[in-house]
Symmetry: C2
Subunit: 467 residues, 2 copies
């Protein structure tokens, strides 16, 4: 996968008809191969970062398209190689013809993510930055976008590199001792070493802990809306979605599970799961759908329990909630419950505190609304946001959102635990050095200072073709 | 629709996730508006046809994307206006954010085809060329692609302009006579005038006649495959599709009717309609499907009637064909029938001539094959091609493929018929001049020398956004 000697080509814009489609080439012969089929200016003689109008002709001289060719010269390109972007009319037929022509001309069909792989291998970006490119493209909301953008621009990499450097310095001290091993010299004060490891671990643990938030930002917050029939679930759903629905549906390619609606609150994507369908299963096939919903509910992060203040007395509510929690198997440890008293406009003198129940309902998780009149809906949104994001400013911190990074940090931390135990237990330097190398190895995997072909395959295999 | 004073913006690549997405701006403030959000080189100061790397930032300074901006300066651009193309990461979320930012910056969302409309209004291309842009994007095979490409590059326009010029010269002579009307002068020899009109009409009629072919090339050849069960229809279908299926399915966005398969023969698209489903209708809903199929069959251009030589004796075949033609209501005048004798490998001594029937089956429409062994399949394809395309070289002629052009040519020809009748009947010059103006008007509609806003709306409304 990591052969850099050939020239790769792929369609880089989404498939299908459009105004324009862009074909990308990268590699030592990108300009030469393009020039053979491009009739206009001689592309081998133009400057980098210039655009040229011309015709693409096949071997028999037939005009396949009129197009624009943009030339990038190594190392000033995405891949740090010579690159050409050919902007054609957005006809799948034409794009296919042009790609086949370029393949016959000596290019090779690019694998998934191979342009970015080359950018990585050529030192344009490190591995976690490359991964952020895919996250960036997949980002659907402001927060996941910001997370990916920060990571792509190297914020996370800087932090890891700093940690790694500190560990390397630490390792140097230990290894120096090993060189003098027989003489039983201790160059490094053990107490100071412990402090250093503790500091490094504190940072790593902070990063590990940020993963829960990072995961929520990246994948959205699974939010179940529960409650009796006629509590006003649909009205609440509509009230919550009110402004966002148009924007969401504008984004083409948004796939939506039938029972889920997406709601964006301050950039965090909430996936609202309606439980209305649960009661209605009549056939076996329907039951399968219900089972799937129940599974989603049990894995949810947030439960909105809605009740109608004109109907549900406190005792009813408590009973309903107990039954729901029991039936839905919500793992309460993973979920937060927000109780929403609806139809307050019809019962304005309802006393919310009557519904309080120790360990379940209190001031901080009970919200009174009227979904129909849009009363307190914005307040409810704030509460939903706060229930998930306790940090006021996402900009102030590095957040881990990638499973692979989490795993590497976790393993690195384990190795450092052993280092710490070794230091405290007076274990000899060579064992400590081994664990430090282990920790270094895992941190290096994050930025790609250490990698295997399998790792690259698995990372770039998730990219789209042409990126 | 034809306001050129504002600056338009649209996504020009297909919607959905991809490696890159391109946003286009055109208009007097295209560069200024882009420069406000683009942080890198000052775009207002760079040369045209250059590409620049930078960051797109929103009003609060948040980085929305790292991108490439290409600047085109009027009149050296597609629209002949200042243009900017911003190549972003192919995330629908990012593209939406960037477009909204540009809209807030003073651009307006472009209507369908508005970039090409501006190219037309600014004299970059005439109307038939603009229409060819849409045809080019929609082209799915070599022939329709070539047709659109020729038209876009002005071949058809040249022909129409030449005709129009000849008519204008002719009109000048007639109008000159009118100026001297009272004196009963005839500047133009009536015989020579008749010859001139006849010549012009000959060209127009040739264009009109080319429409049938043009339509077939553009929309494909509806081809019905009929025959008894077990005649080998599926095997034939697979044999015919053998090489092409992979290529067809490679092209994303190809929509396919469930009962139709596309087959490309020498660049002509044949839409193969399987009649297998006809017999199987059991419910009312199925019957609706069958009715639709029958309708397609009755409108088909070609019927492949397949029979099994090991089973169907000549008498059986004739009877079957009669029954099929009767039941399917194929308008025989519109369709050509090709009879295909299958399973010749099992009955190699079959004498094809035994199946001949006057006015129905003869040497030139009977093909013997073995679908299973791929015997004579290429020959059958040649025969299918020849049944539709009688012209050996499509390059040698101008072919009309657009309904609107056909209509205009037809009306122009009608007007010229009246001119001819007038000349022959000795009608006075002013009536003849009126009909000539009529003919000129219709020809002018084709190239857009004459147009209305409604016409532009209807033409460009069929374009995609961003073109």
């Amino acid at each position: 996968m990591s052969d850099l000697t050939d020239t790769i080509v792929a369609l880089s814009t989404p498939p299908g008809q459009g105004a324009i489609g862009v074909i990308r080439l990268s590699g030592p012969k990108a300009i030469e191969i393009s020039d053979k089929v491009f009739h206009g200016r001689n592309l081998t003689k133009v400057e980098g970062h210039t655009v040229h109008y011309g015709k693409i002709k096949d071997e028999e001289g037939r005009v396949i398209d009129e197009c624009l060719a943009t030339v990038f010269k190594a190392p000033r390109s995405y891949t740090k190689e010579d690159m050409v972007e050919i902007s054609c009319h957005g006809s799948p037929y034409i794009l296919e013809q042009v790609i086949q022509l370029l393949l016959r001309g000596g290019a090779r069909q690019a694998n998934k993510g191979e342009f970015t792989l080359r950018a990585f291998l050529n030192g344009q970006m490190d591995l976690s930055q490359a991964e952020a490119v895919a996250d960036l493209i997949a980002s659907e909301g402001a927060a996941s976008h910001e997370l990916a953008m920060n990571q792509m621009r190297g914020g996370f990499s800087d932090e890891i590199r700093k940690l790694r450097q500190e560990l390397i310095d630490f390792a140097a001290l230990i290894e120096l001792e090993l060189d003098f091993g027989e003489e039983d010299v201790e160059f490094a004060d053990r107490g100071k070493l412990e402090n250093l490891v503790a500091e490094i671990q504190a940072v790593i643990r902070k990063l590990i802990n940020s993963f829960q938030l990072g995961n929520v930002i990246k994948n959205g917050v699974a939010t179940v809306i529960a409650g009796r029939p006629n509590a006003g679930k649909s009205t609440l759903l509509n009230a919550l979605l009110n402004e966002d629905r148009a924007i969401v549906s504008d984004i083409a390619g948004t796939t939506r599970d039938t029972i889920e609606e997406g709601l964006n609150i301050k950039g965090i994507q909430f996936r609202l799961i309606d439980t209305a369908g649960i009661r209605e299963a009549q056939s076996q096939i329907e039951q399968l759908g219900v089972d799937k919903t129940m599974q989603k509910i049990s894995q949810s992060t947030l439960v909105i329990y809605l009740f109608d203040v004109t109907v549900s007395k406190p005792g009813d509510l408590w009973e309903d909630v107990d039954r729901f929690l029991d039936a839905s198997k919500v793992i309460t440890a993973n979920s937060r419950q927000i109780f929403v008293a609806n139809k307050m406009d019809l019962n304005p003198y309802t006393r919310p505190e009557d519904y309080y129940k120790e360990g379940l309902i209190a001031y901080d998780n009970l919200v009174t609304i009227s979904a129909k009149n849009m009363m307190n809906i914005e307040y409810l949104k704030d509460r939903l946001y706060e229930a998930v994001i306790k940090t006021p400013d996402l900009n102030d911190q590095t957040i881990v959102s990638n499973n692979r990074h989490y795993d590497a940090l976790y393993k690195s931390n384990e190795a450092l635990d052993r280092v710490m135990a070794g230091l405290k237990g007076g274990i000899t330097g060579d064992f400590i050095a081994m664990d430090i190398r282990q920790a270094l190895h895992h941190l290096g995997e994050i930025t790609g200072q250490i990698y295997t072909d399998d790792l690259l395959d698995s990372i770039f295999g998730r990219f789209c073709i042409g990126k």
